[in-house]
Symmetry: C2
Subunit: 203 residues, 2 copies
Amino acid sequence: FEGRATDPDMAARFAFWCEADRLKSVIRATPIADGSRRENSGEHSWHIMLYARVLADHAGAGVDIARVLRMLLLHDIVEVDAGDTPIHGAVTPEALAAQEAAECAAADRLFGMLPGHQAREFRTIWDEFEAAETPTAVFAKSIDRVQPLLHNLSDDGGSWRTYDVKLSQLETRIGTKITRGCPDLWPYVRAKVTPWFVARGAL
Amino acid sequence: FEGRATDPDMAARFAFWCEADRLKSVIRATPIADGSRRENSGEHSWHIMLYARVLADHAGAGVDIARVLRMLLLHDIVEVDAGDTPIHGAVTPEALAAQEAAECAAADRLFGMLPGHQAREFRTIWDEFEAAETPTAVFAKSIDRVQPLLHNLSDDGGSWRTYDVKLSQLETRIGTKITRGCPDLWPYVRAKVTPWFVARGAL
Ligand SMILES: [Ca+2]
């Protein structure tokens, strides 16, 4: 009976879940909604899956919502090795290339812990998300961008204050991506966040 | 343009996401895998969705894995109002009935924040999970039971120490439920946790 604990596929899966658990200790730039502390990437992944499911009826043609959920479930796991990259941090092309290389190596190592067929399946989903070409990946990316805005807003600016963000930057870095994946969403969100930037003269 | 911020369906959704965010401040009895702190119900929800997806090939006939993910995404949101009930805590029938009533009221309030068709959809999924009758719900419930065992094991007992749990109790309260939803899993997990209980003479 004790021998059952040596099933190699099951052992591989438990090792993977334990490694993935470290995502709960990767701390993001943005706060949780009540502003009491910064958010970790594990709880963030859960929260944006909830955004995706609630916005399913705003997804365009060709978006597979069940696959969006699988993408968002997996999309941040590489941060266990590669860390989180704040969207508003200043980045050189060199730093960006180094981050991409680190994330690819992390995907190799972490998804590679799973039994072969599953390692390939998870890697394929993550690659599709990163490439941001299919309607499903583009929608998933837009969802990943909207939640931090609302948390920053409820925390009197949150990481916008940290990085001295202007409304025009938000439009370029975030608005275009949200519009690409979920066009109905950006006019609403933009109208919600605009007064904060106007009040600070941060246009 | 500013008027777009008054779209009532979108406003209802943002209010729901903000309320659901409080799940990140509901603290469970079990630790995260490295034992450094107790887990919150938001990150727990993400983690067990990862368990479910990885165990998809162990799901029995009639289990809809995409629906399992939707169930696990939503299953703990009622804890925002009703709190978490540790599985090993002593409970009277009265306390259990009060907890069930509190969770139903929480489901009414929280899912009821969403636009009507979505409120009904989310409530239907949560009711199916709670009833634990369909193969999909039974599988989802079994997944919810297995992750805390592994975290307790990696934290030298975790909440088993807090509640002075015996192996026989684990078999009754947890093992039967895991076996019902995912029969391949329990022999492996039981073999993994048994040495800890044997070493403490807690049979
Ligand atoms: Ca629970």
